[in-house]
């Protein structure tokens, strides 16, 4: 890595994270000034006011410009959503802490913070949601069963807008379209008129904001002594006069335009998983023209531009560098004829990811059987280096699954991943919904206890037969199904209601203007997009499968364990029941290619799929999919869940995604992957996470890497949906637990996203260490 990149990287990594007031201040000023405006225009004016006045920074050596916060390591407050302390939320799983004046140093800052806080009292999204949600739904949320919407504190996020449009046509052309549409609908569609008016305000502001960087570059140029840097600053100024307003003229401008849009996406809302789509595809023509053919930029300089671009993503923080926003770059994939679309830029993206070694963005490779073997090898080598984010997602599974849900074939081929592997189509399809997960293990608990909440004795679910009252496993499964179905309507309520509240109070005119069709429809993306789906998060799917299998085997098939005894044992965290725990631990566990448990995968899947099959979203009238993307909820949910029948102790972590429970996949990687591929990906079109961890020994030479490539290819050909690999030594991790300062850039895949190991709390660290190493 050259000195420029090294220095820029260190600046980001070393930045002391702290809360800043700039965005809150400017948004509050704008809110006060526009109280009587309709929401869309109010939001656009607020964004404009922010962009016109926020601090503009061009760091020494930077080639790609556009700073997120008001200074290094600053995380901004989004008062219109919430004052929640997201650091506490995402690191310690406490959703109820707020930022307060003690977070600020000077008296003046404290006073200002309190003024801002007071102004927004009763107007934040969090307070609105808490007012609207009925008591029972709030209870389900507080018990961690379901209906906990991230949208209570955050924006929609989870989207890749049409970056290609910005690169190829520029914002000016979008503004022209919006203006034309305003004229067309002026007299008869007040919503469309207002939406487009807001879009124009927002986009014009983004252009002015770009020009502020041009001015800053010119200012620095005038003072700069170094000839080389002077030339760079001159180019930066020229770039910022041109993009994102007009089409990008060269590779540098293309990267710059994408970055510029991407950072503003994070200023309009504090959303997670905002991603840039198929970067290697839409930038490739410029890369080819300027780097491969034209020689306008040398290979080395083009790579520096790309590295600068990659590093920028880590500047965007919500709650500091500690929290990954899961911004994703999708590369490779196939075309309609099955041809590989991997190109030189795809390889350079992977190289940049490997050389930068930062938390964000994560790079996702779209696998298919004709994928360039050199790319597969590169990913595995990167995994060996322990410094990559790369994961594979299977075109051959995802594209047909999308088509089945009515996505046109040419659109399905354009899919990209957002965040921890949510399936989206840039500019066209978003998915998710804000209160996604239903914790299946909670449903299992309620089924065990007949709908009674074991933690308080209260009847929370419908009254069903408890385990002790069931004579057959089928009866018990029926209890599970009844409990399950009961919650679906509340999830659907909460999901639709969240969309409604966001569309009413926090519309996104800037992001919406870059989604296909929003201008023509004149409706915000929170109201309608080309395609849309909701997901039911079955994040602890495997925990449910393991538990149902354990109960089936011990209580019903073998009749070796009494139900009442088992219930006593888990209520007592196995204390006094050590022998029973051993019996339950010995029941088959997912991840070993053991049909004794894996046969329940389709059963549990069907219950989930059937429960949502009749649901439609209010937004777009779209279907529901399942997903299994736990982020770190498997750790959190484990902490709040008492001992469970499969042999787990109080507080123990759950399996991360469609992966094995810690220490229970003992039959080798092929067995683990066979178990995983028993999932029907059509039901999980929303995306899944499947982890496999290798000891670096397993990848020590070319021959071994070739074998791992075969493992990946065979698994994908069998219909595996996703695979992310991890490769670190236990010793390294243990050392990092004790000496975090020595390992500050040690990255691990947690579950669908990458984190710095030293940022994880001890429970998560222990989870990573305990996960079975696939050694031989």
């Amino acid at each position: 890595m050259n000195a420029r990149i090294l220095k820029l990287k260190e600046e980001i990594l070393d930045a002391e994270g702290k809360w800043g007031l700039e965005r809150a201040r400017l948004y509050t000023q704008a809110e006060r000034a526009n109280e009587t405006e309709v929401a869309e225009v109010k939001r656009a004016r607020a964004l404009a006011h922010y962009l016109d006045n926020k601090t503009v920074i061009i760091k020494e050596g930077e080639l790609i410009v556009g700073n997120y916060g008001s200074g290094r390591g600053i995380y901004e407050i989004y008062p219109e959503y919430s004052f929640q302390d997201s650091v506490i939320r995402y690191i310690h799983f406490d959703c109820e802490q707020e930022v307060n004046d003690s977070f600020f140093e000077t008296q003046q800052e404290k006073r200002e913070f309190n003024e801002i806080r007071n102004y927004w009292r009763g107007k934040t999204m969090r307070e609105r949601v808490d007012t609207v949600f009925p008591e029972y739904v709030v209870k389900l949320r507080d018990l961690d069963i379901c209906c906990n919407p991230y949208g209570r504190d955050e924006g929609q996020g989870h989207v890749a807008v049409n970056y290609e449009l910005v690169v190829r046509q520029g914002l000016r052309s979008v503004i022209e379209r919006a203006k034309k549409r305003m004229e067309e609908v002026f007299d008869h569609d007040p919503i469309a008129y207002t939406f487009n008016k807001a879009a124009v305000i927002a986009l014009e502001a983004v252009i002015r904001y770009a020009h502020r960087f041009a001015q800053e570059a010119e200012r620095q140029w005038a003072a700069e002594k170094d000839e080389k840097r002077r030339a760079e600053l001159k180019s930066i100024a020229a770039n910022m006069r041109r993009v994102p307003e007009y089409p990008a003229g060269d590779f540098w401008q293309g990267c710059q335009a994408v970055w510029f849009i991407h950072q503003v996406m994070h200023m309009e809302q504090n959303g997670f998983s905002i991603s840039i789509g198929r970067f290697d595809q839409y930038i490739y023509p410029l890369f080819k023209k300027d780097v491969l053919d034209g020689g306008r930029f040398t290979d080395d300089f083009a790579f520096e531009i790309l590295q600068c671009f990659y590093l920028k993503f880590s500047e965007i923080t919500i709650g500091g560098i500690k929290i990954s926003l899961t911004q994703t770059v999708t590369i490779c994939g196939r075309d309609a004829g099955g041809n590989d679309m991997t190109n030189e830029l795809s390889h350079r993206c992977m190289d940049a990811s490997m050389s930068c070694r930062v938390l964000n963005p994560q790079t996702l490779v779209r696998w298919h059987r004709n994928l360039d073997p050199a790319m597969v090898r590169k990913v595995i080598e990167a995994v060996r280096g322990g410094e990559t984010h790369a994961a594979f997602f299977n075109d051959e599974v995802v594209v047909p699954a999308l088509e089945k849900y009515g996505v046109k074939p040419q659109d399905a081929l354009q899919y990209a991943q957002c965040g921890c592997n949510e399936t989206e189509i840039p500019g066209k399809m978003i998915g998710g919904g804000m209160p996604r997960p239903l914790f299946l293990l909670r449903v299992v608990e309620l089924a065990l206890f007949g709908g009674v909440w074991r933690y308080t004795g209260e009847q929370v679910g419908p009254k069903t037969r408890s385990l002790a009252e069931c004579d057959t496993f089928e009866e018990f499964l029926e209890s599970y199904r009844t409990q399950y179905n009961h919650f679906i309507k509340y999830i659907s309520y909460a999901t639709n209601m969240m969309d409604y509240l966001h569309s009413q109070y926090t519309p996104l005119p800037f992001a919406s203007a870059l989604m296909d069709g929003c201008i023509e429809r004149g409706r915000d993306m929170l109201v309608e997009t080309e395609y849309f789906y909701y997901t039911l998060g079955c994040n602890d799917f495997i925990a449910a499968v393991n538990n149902l299998a354990a109960v089936k085997k011990a209580v019903f098939d073998d009749r070796s364990v009494e139900a009442s005894q088992l219930m006593d044992a888990i209520e007592n965290n196995w204390s006094g029941y050590e022998h029973l725990q051993k019996t339950m631990l010995a029941t088959p566990k997912f991840g070993n290619d053991d049909d004794g448990v894996d046969h329940l995968v389709p059963v549990v899947e069907k219950i989930s799929a059937e429960a949502i099959s009749g649901l439609r979203s209010f937004r777009n009238n779209s279907p529901w999919f399942c997903e299994c993307i736990p982020r770190i909820s498997h750790v959190y949910e484990g902490i709040v869940t008492r001992a469970t029948p499969e042999g787990r102790n109080d507080k123990d972590t759950l399996p991360p995604g469609i992966s094995a429970q810690i220490g229970t996949d003992l039959s080798g990687s092929t067995a683990l992957l066979n178990s995983i591929s028993k999932l029907n990906p059509e039901h999980f079109a929303g995306g899944v996470i499947s982890n496999i961890r290798f000891h670096p020994n397993l990848l020590k030479d070319d021959e071994s890497i070739t074998k791992i490539m075969a493992l990946v290819n065979a698994y994908m050909k069998k219909g595996g949906m996703h695979l992310q690999m991890n490769c670190v030594t236990r010793e390294t991790l243990l050392d990092a637990m004790e000496n975090p300062s020595k390992h500050k850039d040690l990255m691990v895949r947690v579950s669908g996203y990458i984190d710095y190991f030293t940022n994880l709390d001890r429970a998560s660290q222990a989870d990573i260490i305990a996960r079975t190493e696939q050694t031989f």
Binding site: E578, A671, L711, A714, Y715
Partner: protein, 301 residues
Amino acid sequence: MGERADILKIQRFSINDGPGIRTTVFLKGCPLRCAWCHNPDSMYREWQLVLAHRLCTHCSACVPACEAGVHSVSEGAHTVDFAACTLCGKCVEACPRSALSISGRSASVEQIIELALRDADYYRESGGGITLSGGEPTMQHEFVEALFTEAHRVGISTALDTSGHCRREAFVRLLTHTDHLLFDLKIMDPELHRQYTGADNMLIHNNFKCAIDRGADITVRHIVVPGVNDTPAENEALAAFMLGCGFRGSLSLLPYHAMALSKYEDIGMVYRLSEVIAPADAYMKELDEFFNRAGIRCRIN
């Protein structure tokens, strides 16, 4: 059909036991007694009680469970009278920590083929298959033959990991069913070979030549044990022997490691080589270069 074997374990996703991704079956029983053996519980075909000392908490639950009085626990020490054990399994059942187990089980051709077929996709993609290892698999050569015949019938490729210490007729018959041979050459000096493995190496060398003459696809495995076979004379003799036989396959060098030490204690055996330390990486590299220079394709495993 209907052949059964006494096995130690089946390991799926083996990537160091022949070409591609393989399923390796470790058979119990071996005619040799290599002092450095990594799988001491595969020396004997008889099943054995194993106490994993690192898991034992000295709770004494196993003591009353055993009618034969095998276990005694006192003052933080657990002693086992292995010879008295009848393998009834009661203590294994009683131990809450899963510290006790019985090493050895019976497996049929059908069971192994069923398991192997589950990984057929990975074999196809990688050029892998089944490997029989041990122990010394040729000790149960009827089973090997039955398994390999069935494997070929269902389209699975076969590899045999052998010391070559096997009767000629049986060895030759197995060769016809074996797609890939992993052949251990341990020590060239016959006297040293006898001293460290308990047997002469003449039979082994003859079988090696025979395998080459019959055109077998062979990888030679050679474990490098400092103080035993790391002398220049040994290395030169090994190279000369392989070249002299017309060997064209590759040589896999395995550095000795002492990780199996605790296994000996767990089954009540004594480890003879406890003072040997693993060879230095630099030495392994030198050796690698030496063989490559001699014209033998070589790789450190």
